[in-house]
Every structure is written in structure tokens, then in C-alpha cells.
Amino acid sequence: MLGEGILKGLAVTARNFAGSFVSAERLTTVQYPEERIALIEATRDFPFLVYDGAGWEAGLRCVACQICEKECPPKCIYIEKSADKKPDYVGKPQFYPARFDIDISVCMSCQICVEVCPFEAIKMDTEFELSTEDRFAGLLFDRRRLAKPNEHYRRIHPAEAAEVDARLASEKAKADAKARAASDAAAARAAARPAKGGD
């Protein structure tokens, strides 16, 4: 019968139309600014710099090794190495970035910087409402704007952050034990020296 296929198709659309009133699964859109869907945990958009402790400048994990700058496919990272050094999380003196800029209008959210970073210093953020009227300076993030506390990282990617925290804690424990052993040995040597001098 001519028109049978059309009627069959109309039955499908009718079922979908009626279904959207009773089944939440068929009603797939939300009214965005008022209603929001919770972000999926693995979501990423732009990078940020992680810092530990209270002071953002003192706590930056970045040691300005510039691997991310070299590997960044669209070359949106700009780093200037500091002249002096500051202690990192295990207490070893390290360089720090005197300047760390990311042009997020160029960044393509590929997260290769995160993968190549050996110091867990750069991670992906989930903040997406970044529109601005100033398209040049407003989208060029300096290190103050990029620095975010480790608590922020724990909040947006809990599982990943717990893994990173555990790894860093074990590294710090190892470094502490090594330092303690070294200082114990130095103390023992210092204790042994006067006895030697007395002879």
C-alpha cells in the first residue's frame, strides 16, 4: 500500500514525542545556564599549574625544565627560567619559572604537557566559562592566573589526584629517609672526629 512506510515512520515519531513526556531518558536536553549537567571526572580543557601549601609563588611545583614548552604541539607555552633557586617539595633547591604564560586562545587541550611533565606540576582544569571581551591579554594567562592549589586538583579529578599525592608522598618519604641517613652519618662522623683529634 502506498504510504505505508510513511505511516510506519510517523508511528515512530509519535512514540518518541509521547515518550518524552513520561520517560526522562527520551528528554535529553537541559536549559543550560539555569540547569547544568555534572561534569564527567575525566573532562579536561585548559592546563593550570599546581602549587602546594598556602603561598602560590613559593609552592609552585614547576621547576622550569621547559619540556612542556618544547613538546606543546601548537607552541602556546612560554617559559622564562629564574636566575636563583628555591627549595622544591623534597627540599632540593630548584629553578622556578620567572615567567610562565599560556595563550589559551592557541591551546588545543591535548594535555601532552601533562603527560610529559616529570614533576606533576601542570594538570588539566575543567573551567570552561572563560569568555572575555579582551581577546588578547584576556586570554593570555600568566603564572598568577594559572596557579591553583592542590586542593582544587583534588576536587576536580579526585581519583587521579589521590594517585599523584601518594606517589609524591612516597618520593618525599624516600628523600627524607635519605636526608636523615646522610645527616646521621654526618653526625656520627662529627662525633668520631674529636676522638680522633684527641689522639
Binding site: G3, E4, G5, G9, E71, M108, Q111, V116
Partner: protein, 390 residues
Amino acid sequence: MAVADNKTEKPEGWNRPPVMEPDGDGELLEVAMGPHHPSTHGVFRMDVALDGERVIRLKPVFGYLHRNHEKLAEGMSYLGSMPFTDRLDYICSLTNNWAYALAVEKLTGQEVPERAEYLRVILGELTRFQNHASSIGFLIQEMGASGTPLMYAFREREKILDLFEALTGARMMVNYMRFGGCRVDASAAWLDAARKVVAGLPAFTGEMDRLLSTNEILMARTQGIGVLRPELAVNAGVTGPMLRASGVNYDIRKVDGYGIYNRFNFRVPLGDHWDVYDRYMIRLLEMRESIRILEQALKDIPAGPVMDPKAKLRGFRPKPGEAYGRIEAPKGELGFYLISDGGPNPYRYRVRPPSLINLTVLEDMALGENVADVVLIFGSVDIVLGEVDR
């Protein structure tokens, strides 16, 4: 007159378009369809010469979206090109990742763990499903069914993109596969979510089938339109659903058996009328075969690492040589050809894009048809301009 003689002397399916002569003594009307035309999927122009409604000449013009992809890759490390491959055919970034990873793995002789191979198949088939679903939706929309099938397709695609986001961190620009495996492992919760989505896919293909396949308007608009003869399809290097709709049994999953495809049980659907309706039907049937592969892969996926622990992420230098990695991407044969001179960057990097090569037969399919059908024939090729222009 000489032209006409040439035409009759050439064998059937020879790779030159037949010459169309206008009937009557009216003037030809030259129309530039595009570059900004809603049916062109991007910026693409068709210079069409019309005799009334009939197409006499058609010249595809592309390059508006050229981004220097191949030359950029020559100045970049092997890893650095991976996120750029997402942006070739942005509907199917995971299969682009796979083809590039395959080429580099061939170049370096890198092995891939079992679990990573299964994950690649699962993601590749999910990609094929959502590509075919949305390409059918776009095809029907170009026919004038404003939105309904497309919105149904996108509702399903959304579920698949949520899976991609939960695993890779991004919905489209995934940057997921690495040389020697995959970037992150899929959790048990993710696999359960994937099983749940796959269990819902047959209902969707059934719905699309009931909604469209026997629709009289669709049949009247698509059957016998845009016929592509198998001889011409083979001569022009057309691949993918386009070639299979012309009745040529050629699927790289079967021919090469790359990855672990020879372990799965699936069929290759073929067309027998070579027209737009066959291309629609092939995509619908391929979606059903994808569901079969997905069910098998999700049942058999083994435990283990997803990354070869010896594989290097960055700073490796392959031995001088060349490699060509190709896969059956949803749109056809996607290949990456790499030449290494022993340095950290490829010496030459070349993409074989299925969209561009399938587009070369557009004039042959469109000659003699009506203007309204040109849009439909173009839609049935299923291209993404990001891949055509690179």
C-alpha cells in the same frame, strides 16, 4: 564531434566523465553552490553548469580549509602530530588516532598489548556507529526532513560521546591512542557503561529502519539517483561504504585483518543497485555489524596492561625507513604514510584521506541529474571538510 567519438571508443567505466550536451538552444546557467551552503558540511564549492534543472558540468573546488597539516607534522615530534590527527575527520577522531598509531608502530616495530587492541576495536566500532548514524541523519536532512532523523541520531551519538569523554577526557578531540597502546585504561565501571550503551543500540537501528527504510518519499528521492558503477569506483580509488554500495567486496578489516579484527565474526554488506539508497542502506547494515563486533569485543576483553611498558612516549628516533599504516575508517581507507630519516621528526608525512578520494567521483555521479539531487548525492558521499582539505 571528436569528443563524442572519444567517448564511444573508451571502455565502460573508464575514468573520465561522460560528456553531457545541453538539449535545446537555451543558455547554460553557471551556479556556484557553496562555499557557504548549508549542505556542503563546511566550506566547499561546486561550480555547476545547468541546462534548466539538469547538471551538464560539475567542478568540485576545495582547499578553503587547508591548514598545512602534513608540513606541520614534518617539523614536529611523532607524539606532537597525534592531537592534530583528531582534527582531520573530527567526527571520527579515534579512528584517525588509530591509523596514525598503527603507522608509527609499523615504523618502530612496536608491539601493542592485547587489552589495548580490544579497547581500540571497541572505540573504533563505537566511532563507526556514531559516524554512520549522524551521516544518515545529515543525508536525510539534506533531503528536507528537517531534523527528526538527525536529532534521533544525535541523541544516540550523545551517549557514545559521553563514553568517549569518560575514558579519554574529551568528546571529540580525544588524543587517546599512543604508540604501543592507549593512554589510560578503561575501568570496570566504564566497560559496564559501554555494555549498557551497546545493549541499547539495536533498538536505535530498528527505530531508524522503521522510520526511514520503507518511507516512500525517501525511496522516490534516492533510488536510481547517483549511480556509481563498480568499474569506475575501483578505478577512482573509492573506498569504504561508497565502494561497498557499488557492490565491490573490499573491507580492510577483512583484507588486512589489522589489529585483532580476524578474531571477530562479522559480515560485509554489499549493494546491488549502486545508488544513493544503497549507500544509505549499507550504512544502516554496517551499524548492525558494528554492534555484533562490539558485543564480541566487550565479552572477550582480557585484563592486563594497556601500554607496552617498554614503549617510549617522546624523544625516540625510528630507524631510517618508511611505513604505511591503513585502517578501515568509517568513511573509507584512511592511511598514514611516514618516512623516517632517523631523526626525531618524520621526514615525510602523508595522509591518504578517504573523504577527498571519494569526492573525486562526484561529477560522474551527478551528471544528468537534477540540481536538488546533487545535494543528495554529495551528502551520500559522507565527507568531512577537515579531512578533504587538511
